[in-house]
């Protein structure tokens, strides 16, 4: 997947704007996913298809089950019921690292910087298929030195892009909260994922940087990757998402382009409670609530 590749972004015209609607070319398909924590059903997704090559926003009130759904899809948690397939492969009982190796890579809502590794080491760790990750080959540097240099070049390019180049040699533990978000996203990109799942990538990032981050997310799509991201900021959702999936109390309650979602009665109810009837503010009046 190279950056110079010209990709046409798939159109979702004609796709039904309803929960569980079929997509022309789904990358991820989930069926009957249920996850219970004791008496609480955190996730209960009947059917969901994520279209390949576009940016899908997953939104929903706090506690809707978005993070849990991410965990389930990426092998960090096991559903009580349900099956799902990624790029045509059943994911069922695959452990998390194998899911990642298949090309579905996630970031965490609570960032996981590897504190006592430097920023550049964090980045290099991300690269897939490293020869030197075998103990015996690792002992012989000539076997992996060349690959390491290539990885390092790629890492440096990404650090530049994510405005972290000046922190290259610092311990990741010294980064600020926003910088950690950036590092985690850049590190995930080192794996060259085909589907990247970002859990609140913009949370805590300053507005100026958010703009450039949004640019990065869009460029991921333009490189042909599929992006799913969780976000609470409706401005962001409006700005970059091609499709919006709304979750509430574990289930998908609505799907559609953001224009349609903002006016959807079920969504408004889920966010604001049933006593409200004003349309949800998606920030269409620029800067009104910034």
């Amino acid at each position: 997947m190279s950056a110079d590749q010209t990709v046409t972004i798939p159109s979702l015209e004609g796709v039904a704007e309803q929960p569980g609607s079929a997509k022309p070319d789904p990358m991820l398909t989930a069926d009957g996913i249920v996850r219970r924590f004791g008496g609480l059903t955190a996730v209960d997704v009947d059917h969901l298809e994520i279209q390949r090559g576009i940016i899908t926003a997953l939104i929903g009130p706090n506690g809707a089950g978005k993070t849990t759904f991410f965990n389930l899809m990426t092998g960090f948690d096991t559903p009580d019921e349900g099956t799902w397939a990624f790029d045509g492969t059943a994911m069922g009982s695959l452990p998390a690292h194998k899911v990642a190796r298949n090309g579905m890579v996630r970031t965490f809502q609570l960032t996981k910087a590897l504190s006592r590794l430097t920023v550049i080491e964090n980045m290099k760790l991300g690269a897939a298929g490293q020869v030197g990750e075998n103990l015996f080959r690792g002992l012989v540097k000539p076997l992996w030195g060349k690959q390491e240099r290539e990885i390092e070049e790629r890492a440096d390019a990404l650090l530049e892009r994510f405005k972290l180049a000046h922190m290259r040699e610092e311990f990741a533990g010294t980064l600020s909260g926003g910088q950690r978000k950036l590092l985690e996203m850049a590190r995930a990109l080192m794996t060259d994922p085909s589907l990247i799942m970002l859990d609140e990538p913009m949370a805590g990032v300053n507005p100026a940087l958010t703009q450039s981050l949004l640019g990065h997310v869009k460029s991921l799509r333009d490189e042909g990757r599929t992006v799913v991201f969780v976000e609470h900021d409706m401005d962001v959702v409006r700005d970059i998402s091609d499709w919006v999936v709304v979750m509430a109390e574990g289930s998908i309650i609505a799907e559609g382009p953001h224009e349609a979602i903002g006016a959807n009665k079920t969504v408004i109810d889920a966010y604001l409670g049933t006593s409200h009837d004003a349309p949800l503010d998606f920030g269409d009046t620029e800067g009104a609530d910034a």
Binding site: G75, F76, K98, A100, K112, L114, L117, L125, Q130, E133
Partner: protein, 335 residues
């Protein structure tokens, strides 16, 4: 008090086989805890299994070249037994299991019989094994005492000192090569945050298992050098039980966890300190500087551990990162 004698004995212990075997074992523990974050509180178990594996094989007439690999194989099996059920669970489970398993191993080595099996015929029961080191001594190239200007060793000691420090240097080289590699990077990533490593496609379970086995092998080697050096293997706590595990931890922390030379320097200092406090206290007592009501001869052995404990507390207060550690690193919040 003969300060010259105390000093020369202290320097001797700084370079003696005691420091060497401590260093080898601490290098193993450093792979476990320092680089991978595995809480191994039963390192003496690895030492015991390596030591007994080798000693029993030698005693049964096998050559050294077979006895050492048998000890290493036994330690590998021990690591797998500990790792398989625990490494998928939270970190504390390994800690509990290693404490218990190392103690079980030692008690089995001490047992007269295990069920119908006359274990004593192989392990010597509570008396241990004493006459096994012949094949090792036969290889000794030194035929007289070795006297360098700062240390002197008997011919017998010189041989184990030479072998011990050779193993230390090779081990350090190995750890250096391993930890600068991408493999080492995965290890450290698992130490920092296992889930982050898994999210990037790294098999955390496998890498922890590799670390547990590898560190255990160094523990076993350390145990072998130890019992070859003292020509006897005893199933006592001081030799191969919880106190030994504790001392290896101290040596590693003293030098600096997760640092290449940390466990080596820490072991040298620890071994020298043990000797120095012992001789000084004894000397002071002979001089009559310490009144009888405060401490008698028997208590010297215990008092030096009290002093060491105090020293350790001071170290933690003023240099928590150890000798080689990086304070900056320690200050980072690690979860």
């Amino acid at each position: 008090m003969d300060w010259g004698f105390i000093l020369s004995e202290t320097v001797n212990k700084f370079f003696g086989f005691q420091a060497a075997y401590f260093a080898i074992a601490a290098i193993g523990l450093n792979i476990h805890f320092g680089y991978t974050g595995l809480l191994n509180f039963g390192h003496a178990g690895f030492m015991a299994i390596g030591a007994y594996g080798m000693a029993i094989s030698l005693n049964e007439g096998l050559p050294l070249i077979a006895a050492v690999p048998i000890g290493l194989l036994a330690a590998t099996a021990f690591a797998l037994i500990l790792g398989v059920p625990t490494l998928r669970l939270r970190a504390d489970y390994l800690a509990i299991v290693t404490i218990a398993a190392s103690e079980i191993a030692r008690i089995l080595f001490r047992a007269t019989e295990i069920g119908p099996f006359e274990a004593r015929n192989y392990t010597g029961g509570s008396t241990g094994i004493n006459g096994f080191s012949g094949p090792f001594k036969d290889l000794n190239p030194f035929d007289g005492p070795v006297d360098l200007w700062f240390v002197n060793f008997s011919a017998q000691d010189a041989w184990i000192v030479l072998v011990g420090w050779t193993i230390v240097l090779l081990s350090v080289l190995f750890v250096h090569l391993a930890m600068r590699s991408p493999w080492g990077r995965v290890l450290k990533a698992v130490r920092e945050d296992e889930d982050a490593a898994r999210a990037l496609g790294k098999n955390a379970y496998s890498v922890k298992m590799q670390s547990l086995v590898l560190g255990g092998l160094f523990g076993a080697l350390g145990g072998m050098v130890f019992v070859l050096g003292q020509s006897s293997v005893q199933p006592t706590p001081q030799d191969l039980g919880a106190p030994k595990t504790f001392f290896i931890w101290v040596a590693m922390i003293l030098g600096g966890t997760g640092k290449l030379w940390g466990p080596v320097i820490g072991s040298m200092i620890f071994s020298a300190l043990l000797q120095f406090t012992d001789l000084t206290l004894r000397g002071a007592q002979e001089e009559g500087w310490i009144p009888e009501w405060l401490m008698d001869g028997v208590q010297v052995g215990q008092t030096r551990f009290i002093l060491l404990g105090l020293g350790l507390m001071l170290l933690m207060a003023f240099r928590p990162q150890g000798i080689f550690g990086d304070k900056r690193e320690l200050a980072l919040d690690v979860r």
